[in-house]
Assembly symmetry: C2
């Protein structure tokens, strides 16, 4: 017999909240599964694999619309890797930009902290630095 799962079991196997599984179904990322007599969703191994794929891609930081593209591509076995490669490449570039932005931020904040003399707010360099240069 084919293995089946309730939504809760599927969630435990993929580390996904039940509400999230239903959400993925609602936005068309997971197919509507068949229902039991009691109207429970009945999932099979294919559902499990697809949800696993989605969750792994999410862990790697892909937004849902890119996950959708990856799912689409993963089904077209004869197609070349090129698009997958580009998609991942673009994602890496995006991550690198975010790392850079955060590093800049950290430096600014660290400089502020270094200037703090631990006195009163009135002479606090941090608060001062937040005061805008425009004052008229």
């Amino acid at each position: 017999m084919m293995q089946t799962y309730t939504i809760g079991q599927l969630g435990r196997l993929t580390d996904t909240k039940v509400e999230t599984v239903r959400y993925y179904e609602r936005i068309g990322l997971l197919p509507h599964p068949p229902r039991s007599v009691g109207n429970y969703r009945v999932y099979d191994g294919a559902h499990l694999a697809r949800l696993g794929f989605i969750r792994r891609a999410r862990e790697l930081g892909f937004p849902l619309d890119q996950v959708r593209e990856l799912l689409e591509l993963s089904g077209q076995e004869a197609r070349s890797c090129e698009q997958v490669d580009e998609l991942v490449q673009a994602h890496v570039t995006d991550i690198e930009r975010r790392i850079h932005d955060l590093q800049t931020l950290r430096q600014e904040l660290t400089q502020l902290l270094a200037q703090c003399q631990h006195g009163k707010i009135a002479e606090c360099r941090i608060i001062e630095a937040l005061q805008p240069r425009v004052t008229g």
Copy 2:
């Protein structure tokens, strides 16, 4: 005479969209300004300074509730810097965690890319790596 500003002027001076200024008012971050006869908001220099503070803090990545705290603290001139310091310190720690997470992510993705043989999807290592290890 005291300098006054329309919402649009305030927006231009602080690089803030008009809708955002109204949003800050709605959530209580900016006070309700007086209105003109035509029901236009009329801002003064204090509003400008406060909005500038908010925007600068946002640029530095503080979420709005922390901006609220910073605004609160900045008004209490006799108080010690300690809380400001802690707040900024905690923010730096948070940013460092995010940098670390993104670096881990980048490494994982870069490894995937390095494994790509530029062949067909059927043998794509990237797609393969996304396939879940659980398959039953």
